[in-house]
């Protein structure tokens, strides 16, 4: 009697356990990652930020601030590029919000949400692709750095550690921007809101200048700014120096941000009408 209502191919699937196994979940995420990659291939301009931002930023900051802040461009490259790595993750992460928001403008999200897949898989796929984009941006940034005189005193593993730390922190921010993208009404307002959050964090940090040169209140802000922790950790991983505290703080921030914003984002995604 169980099959009467299901004439065609769904009989087996319908009778199965309603939960979605890990393997199926990975397969779904894979199919959705493929979708996002194909979207980039269809619209290569969407990669401009990841490709050009690191080039423009390094040239701009090294030549504008280099002489003033550290006395020489070469010295400043070694100070700033690790910090810029931290910033790159955040800038790439911003794009996630606008992407999620405009996805909802088309009917395709309705299709996903009426399919037997974990609803988080749509968001996780998005994050996997964005981490890929952030990795591309980081590699270009490092190449630019090497051209301008970056040297890795602390060995390859230190460098890799810095890359992984930056990407992990960037991924945690993506959940925040996804949440923003799900809450805001238009892609433009996502962009606007994101800028307000991002700018003070970027410049009120140790990324571009040493906090000791700043007034007391700002120095205090930079000390608690997670981007400073990340920049310090990356810098010391690449140039050598004490890493434990700043790396630990960064990991804690990343875990904390994800633990709060990821469930909120998935819940919002589930209930968005």
């Amino acid at each position: 009697m169980s099959a009467v209502t299901v004439p065609a191919g769904n009989t087996r699937a319908a009778a199965a356990d309603p939960r979605i196994g890990l393997r199926a979940n990975l397969r779904h995420i894979g199919a959705l990652v493929r979708r996002n990659v194909l979207q980039i291939r269809q619209d290569p301009e969407s990669m401009f930020d990841a490709l050009l931002m690191p080039i423009v930023f390094t040239l701009l900051f090294v030549y504008v601030f280099g002489g003033a802040l550290e006395g020489s461009q070469e010295k400043y490259v070694n100070y700033m590029v690790p910090g810029l790595m931290a910033m790159m993750g955040m800038n790439i992460a911003m794009a996630v919000g606008t992407g999620v928001n405009s996805d909802f403008k088309t009917g395709v999200m309705d299709r996903f949400r009426t399919m037997p897949i974990a609803r988080s898989s749509v968001l996780i796929a998005k994050i996997v692709v964005e981490i890929g984009r952030a990795l591309v941006a980081t590699v270009i940034l490092l190449l630019m750095g090497f051209i301008l005189g970056l040297h890795v005193d602390n060995g390859v593993f230190g460098l890799l550690g810095a890359v992984v730390l930056s990407l992990a922190f960037g991924a945690s921010l993506m959940w925040v921007f996804i949440l923003l993208g799900l809450v805001a009404r238009t892609p433009q307002s996502v962009q606007g809101l994101a800028m307000i959050v991002v700018l003070p964090l970027q410049f009120g940090s140790s990324i571009f200048a040493k906090p000791t040169t700043m007034p007391g209140w700002l120095e205090a802000f930079t000390r608690y700014n997670p981007l400073s922790n990340l920049a310090d950790a990356s810098r010391n991983l690449i140039n050598g120096g004490a890493v434990a505290h700043s790396a630990m703080m960064t990991v804690m921030w990343a875990v904390g941000i994800t633990a709060i914003s990821a469930p909120l984002a998935v819940a919002r995604f589930r209930n968005k009408t």
Binding site: A8, A24, T106, D110, I117
Partner: protein, 326 residues
């Protein structure tokens, strides 16, 4: 207690007392309906009647405030995951990824429905062929025409061979030719055994595709039943007799007597006679023949769905509203 008792065996969709509020307005205000296995139920109503809200609840996109709904025996509130395995949805707006090609769209959905790579590819090609999209298979969907996009959307809904298919105003905004193509596909799906819940504003569409109709207005069911039943409810058939000589219309009316309520339509050159039974039809035709009137044509017609809709919405308070507005 099993989820599928004998009573619901041939009912694919069962809705009881469904309510959905948005602030003060009730999008749905106690809707009941049944869709029988393997049939098409047309849900007919004007804009804002609650049709899309109904479909969104039945496809687990939104939760009702009260009432129950089951699809293929699965409850929308307690078994949404199982329910999603047996449904397909084609909305008013094409729900495909615009930047992906038709083939990539269908392949992706196949993979999300746990088909193997090979099966997903095979099924995509099969459906592209069936929906006449093979030539455009590699083009991004945003370059498709409105009709092609809608067909791709239908194809996407069919990948998992859903037991129940929701078509939410599937031909809104399409030209007549494309509309016919979509209708043809819907008929094919039903022939393959799908159960369809179709919402529409077009009487013609409901008449062409639906076995049964539910008319809703402002969140309430105001009429329902088989298409013919609904028409009969509004009034019986009308017999139209066209004499060779239009001059005899009044004489024909007189010959039938007052009780027949025949109305001569001089402009159209026909005599309209309301008919309530087959026996009466025979009597009228026989009476006219016995009198020796030369008849050029004879026809019976059911009231159109527009007339049905007007008649039933009048009953649900539309008239009062109009009177208040006046």
């Amino acid at each position: 207690m099993t989820q599928r008792d004998a009573k619901s065996a041939d009912t694919a969709v069962r809705v009881r007392g469904l309510v959905k509020r948005y602030g003060e307005t009730k999008a749905l205000d106690g809707v009941d309906l049944d869709v029988r296995q393997g049939t098409v139920l047309g849900v007919l109503g004007p804009n804002g009647a609650g049709k899309t809200t109904l479909v969104r609840i039945l496809s687990t996109l939104i939760r009702p405030d009260a009432g129950t709904a089951t699809v293929a025996g699965y409850d929308v509130l307690t078994q949404p995951r199982q329910l999603r395995r047996v449904i397909g949805l084609t909305g008013q707006y094409a729900s495909v990824d615009e930047s992906l090609s038709g083939r990539e769209n269908l392949y992706m959905i196949g993979r999300l429905l746990d088909l193997s790579r090979r099966d997903a590819r095979g099924r995509a090609d099969e459906l592209l062929e069936r929906f006449s999209l093979t030539d455009a298979a590699r083009k991004p969907a945003k370059e498709y025409s409105g009709g092609m996009r809608r067909r791709l959307d239908l194809a996407a809904s069919m990948i998992g061979r859903p037991a129940v298919l929701y078509l939410d105003e599937p031909t809104t905004g399409l030209d007549p030719r494309t509309r016919n193509e979509v209708w043809e596909e819907v008929r094919n799906m039903v022939a393959d055994g799908s159960t369809v819940l179709l919402t529409t504003q077009y009487m013609e569409e409901a008449e062409k595709l639906a076995h049964e109709l539910t008319v809703i207005d402002r969140g309430r069911v105001i009429a329902g039943g088989r298409v013919e039943e609904l028409k009969a409810k509004v009034g019986g058939r009308t017999l139209q007799v066209r004499p060779v000589d239009p001059g005899v219309l009044d004489a024909m009316a007189a010959a039938l007597g007052r009780g027949a309520q025949a109305v001569a339509d001089h402009a159209g050159g026909v005599l309209n006679v309301p008919i309530l039974s087959d026996e009466q039809l025979t009597e009228v035709v026989a009476a006219l023949g016995a009198q020796g009137f030369a008849i050029a044509g004879i026809d019976t017609h059911l009231p159109s769905l527009d007339e049905v809709f007007l008649a039933v919405t009048r009953g649900s308070g539309t008239q009062e509203r109009e009177e208040l507005a006046a």
